[in-house]
Each structure stands twice: as C-alpha cells, then as structure tokens.
Symmetry: C2
Subunit: 500 residues, 2 copies
C-alpha cells in the first residue's frame, strides 16, 4: 500500500506561504466553530521515525488558539500508567467538548513500535487491534472527531535524517539504537505499519498519509487535511440536526491527492522479439504452476480493472491461452442482472469464488462499487465509503483460507485511450468493442482518476495487493501481468510445500 505513495512531492516557498496563511485562517475559524458546537477533536500524529512529527505539530498549532488545545507526547509509559490498563492513559486525556487534544504518538504504539520491539507479542496482536477499534468507535459514536495522520518518508530519507542528527552533539541523543534498527529493518517495520493502517482505517476514523519528505509540503497537507475534516464534521452535524438526511460530500482537495496514477511511468515498452520470447517462456511456466496449484489445492483469484481500452481482454487472453480450461474460469462482470440486483452487491462475486485448486479470473470486479457506482451515484456515499472495509474484509477472509489474490489496474493515459478508441471505430472487427458509453466515461476521466487513486491506496493490502500495470505498450503490459502471476504463484507454492 505505502509503496504506491509518491514521496517526491514538493512545495515551492510562495505556494506554501499562501496555503499556510489561507488554511491557517480557516483553521482558526473552524476551531471557534467546533468550540461553539461543543465538538471534541483528537488529532493523532504517527509515522516513521524522523518523519518530523514534532516539527509538524508545532507548525499546526501555530494556527490554533492556544487556550483550546493540549498536546500530549506518548513516550514510553510512566509508572502510574503501567499500573493501569493500557487505554487508561488515553481515556483520561480525551478532550472535553469543544477542545482539541493532539497526540505525538498514541495508542497505536502497541501495534507498531511495541510490536516491532517484541513488547507486544504476536498472539496478543488481535486483542490490541480490538482495543484500538473499540476505543475509537466508542469516542466517534459519542461525537468525538478523530483525525489520524501518518507521516511517511523513505528508508534513504530516514537514514539521511538520522545521520544528520547523529552527527551533531546537540541532537545525537535523539537517535537511539532502536531508531537505527528500525532503519536497518525498514521493510519489516514498514510492513508492520502498513498492517496497522489497513486494520484501523475505518470510515469514522480514517487515516491520511502525509508525504513528509518535503516539510513544507507536509505542513500544507496537514493543515489542509485537518481544516477539511473539521469543516466536513461541522457540516455533517448541521445536516443531521436539520434532518435533511445524508452526510455532505467530502470534496478531496486536489492539491493534496495521493496521486498514485500520476506517478506511473507509461514509457515502459518491449520489442516484438522480447515480447514473444518472454511470453512463451512465462506461459510455459504458468502451465506447470497450474497443475501444482491443483495438486496443492491452492485457490487463486485474479482481478482485472483498468481504463476502457486499457488492455484487460488482451492480458486475460495471454494469461489463459496455455491453461487447462477445466482449472480456471473467467467471470466477466456486467451491470447486475435482476437476480443480482436484489442481493447484497458482494453476493454475485461470492458465488463465483474459486474452489481450492482452481483459478478465477474477474474481468471487472467488486471494485465497481468504489468506481462506477460511486461516480454515477448508483449507490449512496455511505455505501461506497463503507465498501473499502467490506472489500478488505472479504479478501482477508479468502486470503486466510489460503487464496492467492492479485489485482491488476491496467493503466494507460488519456491520449493512448483516444488512439485506441479511434482504432476500434475504424476497424470493423473491433467496432463492437466501442460504444457511446465509452466516450461518456472518458469525459469523467478526472473523477475516475480520483476514485481510482483512493481505491488503490485503501485496498492495496499485504494479502491482496494492487499491481498498477503500465499499459501504453500492450507487449509490456501483458508480460508484466504474466510475470507477476508467475512470481506470486511460485512464492505461494514454495510456502505451501515447506508447510507440508
């Protein structure tokens, strides 16, 4: 999930000055409004070491009336705290109505740093998550706004910052052995953090990832995120009080979208020669793996989503051409039929989940809920917002059963799509593939891009990752899909064999 985030974002001084001033004024006003409305607010800063939590808290509070907030640093626990249940120290710090409590590290320690350090044992992890989820649910149900920020930097950036701190006498005490250990084992620590984000990203208390390489950019995004959320919550309460139904739409601030797709390098390509060689090599491998899957009773789910004309069909064709047809099934997903329409939206997909040892390929999937259904208003905002968690739960259930799940986003740019649309219109053999609706969808490209970016970040999990396929070159795309499938299956088979 986090590897999808583009960490190179920067802000120039002038933009930063303007945004900070403008959002600062908004924030000050919103703080007064929250106070008047009696809304308690909790802002949580978590993130990688040296990502700048202290600096950013400081920059955030510049905009706030100091009589209205408290900052709590949750370092290692005090004697007083250790003598009471874990959540006690946070419960007693929950803010009164109208006040803001800011936490520099928080109740997430138990599933993050403490887990990495072996203080939280793996068998206690499920309970620790349950405690966190209950705690946040009780507070948000009771009217508290919880804003959770995760400050993210890369391994290299972290190393550089630790080094800099270490090199100076005044600051070297701030870098501990544990810090260096976390940098050295960055990937392990990152995975722990990703799991944390996946497990606790709820609709009532969602996480926002802050790209923290550039401090100005991070400060802007934090100020804007907090302001936006407070504005939303105030509006939501007003709407609820007037009973005119429904929460207000959250309009994401486009300046600060996570922008997964915009960072994709679409220039990748293969020659016809390379393509033919690789394709044939991978297809033969896959054929063998397929019978291994059957023997080991491993179920496989392969999901294909992407832009219209993004190359889903072509990739699926290359994937299946050497497979035993008794061992896989391709499930095309159209608009729901009459029977499907009167069931839960996930029901029809559950019906097509593969048996152990079989492969199910979905040409379009349950992700329609958070793309077309969201954009076209086929479901309510509450419904598609809830869907991220529902989908993650469904995929987790399958993964726990031993299912391999891979999800491909076939990505092309707008120009390439136009070229392909025209090609389809001009080629009589392909005309069936293009409809007026395709052109209409194309007009909503930006809306889709926002929805897809959000989908990729919120549903790319350790157990069911999204793979963005650079699709301008069909050759490159098809080979990448095949290679990813082959690698994932090889890994799973190796694990399954070593387990028996």
């Amino acid at each position: 999930m986090l590897e999808k985030i583009d960490l190179s974002k920067k802000a120039d001084k002038e933009t930063c000055r303007q945004v900070m001033e403008q959002e600062g004024e908004r924030l000050a006003r919103l703080q007064r409004e929250c106070k008047a409305a009696g809304i308690p607010v909790m802002i949580v800063f978590e993130g990688m070491g040296a990502a700048g939590k202290g600096v950013q808290i400081n920059r955030l509070i510049q905009a706030l009336d100091p009589r209205g907030f408290s900052v709590y640093a949750s370092n290692s626990s005090s004697e007083e705290e250790r003598m009471r249940p874990f959540l006690w120290r946070f419960w007693i710090k929950t803010p009164a109505n109208g006040r803001i409590a800011i936490f520099d590290r928080s109740w997430y320690r138990s599933v993050q740093a403490d887990r990495f350090d072996g203080i939280t044992k793996e068998e206690d992890l499920a309970g620790a998550y349950q405690d966190i989820l209950s705690f946040e649910k009780q507070l948000t149900d009771g009217g508290t706004v919880i804003i959770k920020l995760f400050l993210y930097i890369s391994k290299e950036e972290q190393k550089k910052r630790f080094q800099k701190l270490d090199d100076s006498k005044e600051t070297s005490w701030r870098v501990t052995k544990q810090d260096w250990k976390r940098n050295k084992e960055y990937d392990t620590y990152l995975k722990i953090n990703e799991e944390m984000l996946e497990n606790t990203d709820t609709d009532a208390a969602p996480w926002t990832i802050i790209e923290a390489t550039d401090k100005d950019y991070a400060a802007m995004k934090i100020r804007s995120t907090v302001a936006q959320r407070l504005a939303y919550e105030l509006e939501r309460r007003k709407a609820a009080a007037q009973k005119d139904g429904g929460a207000p739409e959250v309009r994401p601030d486009n300046r600060f979208k996570n922008g997964v797709l915009s960072g994709v390098d679409l220039s990748k390509t293969l020659t016809r020669e390379e393509y033919k060689n690789e394709l044939s090599h991978l297809q033969k491998k896959l054929e063998k793996l397929h019978s291994e899957l059957y023997r080991l009773r491993i179920p496989v789910v392969l999901c294909f989503e992407g832009w219209d004309a993004g190359g889903k069909g072509g990739a699926i064709k290359r994937l299946t051409s050497h497979l035993d047809p008794r061992g896989y099934q391709v499930n095309p997903t159209a608009s729901p039929n009459d029977i499907e329409r009167v069931h839960h939206y996930l029901w029809r997909f559950w019906n097509n989940m593969p048996k152990a040892g079989h492969i199910a390929i979905f040409d379009r999937t349950w992700y329609g809920r958070v793309m077309v259904e969201r954009i076209e208003g086929f479901c309510t905002e509450a419904e598609w917002k809830r869907a991220y968690q529902e989908i993650n739960e469904m995929e987790a259930h399958m993964a726990n059963f031993g299912t391999v799940i891979l999800k491909f986003w076939m990505h092309i740019d707008k120009d390439e799509q136009e070229r392909r649309f025209h090609e389809r219109m001009e080629n009589p053999a392909k005309q069936w593939k293009i409809t007026d609706e395709d052109w209409r969808n194309r007009e909503k490209w930006d809306q889709y891009e926002t929805a897809v970016d959000e989908m990729l970040v919120r549903t790319s999990t350790t157990y069911a990752p999204w793979i963005v396929v650079e699709g301008n070159s069909k050759y490159y795309a098809r080979v990448k899909v095949l290679r990813c499938v082959v690698e994932a299956l090889e890994e799973k088979i190796k694990k399954a064999e070593s387990a028996t």
Copy 2:
C-alpha cells in the same frame, strides 16, 4: 449470563393456542409487508443440543407463506464447501430482497461446536469471531434483518431428552457420542456458548434467548420475537424514509421478558448470631487478602447497583471496615458535574479506575446509562442500546489487564422498599437518605425492572459477572457480598501465584 435465565417458564394450552394464532396472523402479514418493502430476512436457530431447533423451526414456518422462505440445515460441511472459504456457504444462501432464509445452525458453528470439538483452535478464535462480526455487519449495513435465537435448556433437561431419544430404536441414531460428551461437560460447553453470545450480541444483530424447557412457551416466544422484530424494522425503515429521524421504540413484549429478577428468592435470611460470626470471619479473611492483592499487584473493581434503599451503603460499609484505607477508594456516583457532562459518559469512570494492587468500589456506576439515563430519556435510544457493548468492551479491557471485576445488584421487593422508605422518614437520623425523587423513582418500578433484567442478561459476562444479592434480609445480603468478594479474590490470587 445464561445461569441468570429462569428456565421454569411454562405456557398453558389455551394461552398458547391464542398467542400462536394471533402472532401467526401478524407474522403472515409482516412477511407480506417485508416482501413488498424488499427486505431480506435471516433467522438463525442456535442452542444447546436437543433444545428443539427442528421442532421450533417447523412451528415457526407454519405461519409463513412457503413461497417466501427457504430453510437451510448447516450440518457438517460438504466437499464443495470445504473447498471454499468458510463464509462462502452462507454468502451464497443470503436471501434476495423480500425473502426469508432460516438457518438450522449457522456460521456460529466455528465458535461453538467446532470450538468444543477442537476443530477451531483457540489461536484462530479471534479471527473466527472477526469473520462472523464482519459478515453480519456487511449484511445488516446492506439492509438485511438478522434475527438470532438461542434455544436454551438445562443439563438435566438435556440429559432426559437424550435418554428418551436413545431409548427408542427409531431415534437413537440422532444422539451421537459428541452429544453425550457435550452433556457430560455441559458447563464447559455452556461457557463456550456464553462467550459466543457475549461476543456477538450486537445492536444490529442482537441475540434473543429462548427458554426452551417448555416447547409451547418457546414456540410462543419465537413467534412473538420474530414478529416484533419485523414490525420494528419495517417501522424503522418507514421512519428513515420520511426522515423524521430516530428509530421507533422497541416495546418489549412483557409476556416474554427474560425476567431475571422475578425469579430471585427473597426469603433467604440469617440470624443475628450467624451474621455476626460470618461477618467477623469474612472480614478477617478479606483483610489478609487485601495485602496479598497489593503484593501481587492485582487491581479490583467492585460495583454496587440496586433499588433505592436496597442496602448498597450498608454492604459497602461492612466490606471496607477492616481494610487499609490506603488501599481502597469508594467512588460515589452522582449526576455528572459540569466537567463530566462535557466528556464521554465513560470518561469519569475511567478516571477512577484503580491502580494495580488497589480496590475501587463504585456506589452506583456506569450502568446508570442503561437504567436511569434510559428511563428518564437523558440519552437517546441509540446511545443506551450501544452502551451494553461499550461497557462490555471496557470491562473486558480491564479484565485482560488482570482486574477482578464483580458487580452486585442489591435486590429487594417493592414492599420491603416501602417499609424502608417509611422507616427512613420516621427516623431523624436517616431522613437525609430519603427524598421526593426516591418516591418518584419508585413509581417507575416496572420500567426499571425491565431495564435491569435486560442489563443483567446483556452485561453479565464470564470476566465481569453480575451477582444478584437477595437483599430483603440485610444480614444475609451483607454476608453474601463479602463472601462473593472473598471467594473471587481467593481464586484470582491462587491463579496469579501459580502463574508466577
């Protein structure tokens, strides 16, 4: 929790005939209305072996239009089912809008029979519960009504029924070795079931306990429960559609209340001699245990609730009179003050939770939420209904930390209360104890009884049990409280010492 249920309830033939007919007609009408409104309904039958699930399903469906429902028996899993993730078999059976699906045993097998049989391992239990909760939440969020019935009979009754089946050639095959094992280890199996009920009794999909000793009584209660729930859900949706806010009140059917309090034997008493001896003996024991607690760093929470003039104060006095005052604190709970009022309702109690090694005694507690606040309308219906789970979560968190939690309901009958009120009014030394409000509360005795019955059943957990104290005799009550505390502490200390 279940031990609080009065299993002796019976119905006479004539009442049964009338109720079944009347509720049957209502149910048939409600089925048509649910169909018209497109509401999918799932009815789950779980319970102890030989509690009569089959018979009761049969009696329930007599009232229904057979074109509108399906019955699924979930015996051991089929080959097809084992090859897919556990929830698959239930997802594909979720009913279409307007249809009813009835489950004879269900997805609860994994945390119930399969757990008892060792098929579900203890380390997988948390995941199994998570799956169940997600499954039900996804469905109820999507509009499905889930009605869960737990058919309950005693060990003796079960044995009698197994024996009867076993004695006849035609039916002996129905009693398996596993059945007899579950009867023999009834208490273990009961505890597993209690945990299941505790963990999955959610606001959106609550459990109803069916006292199943008398089959007619059970049939009536089932029919009435289903009808009442459907009526409620239809009304709720209508209200939501008209946006006139709030769910309708659920009016419990008084014929079928669980009636914990009504079954309490208030004639228990002690002579002055017995009282003095026992009291002095137990107080000395408690004194010693108190220093053991301190040495072993065990925190203790003792909660006192009960009718006005039920004897809370007297019991607390006898409990603390021989304790070292540095090691305990009595927290009286009045209406929340200005500071408390602007925090989450649990905040003030969290603040008073004891340190490791200390005892906190609460004279009235967080249970005010589901009693006085519920009855006087100081909180919304959604709020007090949510509170059962919130309270259970809080107590579970403390219990996991190693806290001993006991909750006493000081019970007297209405006549005894009146006698005590008059005594207080006539005795100048006690006049301060009685106010007009006490008399007003007394007028709401029946409302309180309903609320207390529900509270006792929904929040008496394995880790924080309710103890109903027969309080008409003050001597008996005080000794019982002391004895329960002494026994619980002895047990905990024994466990703690064997762990070190």
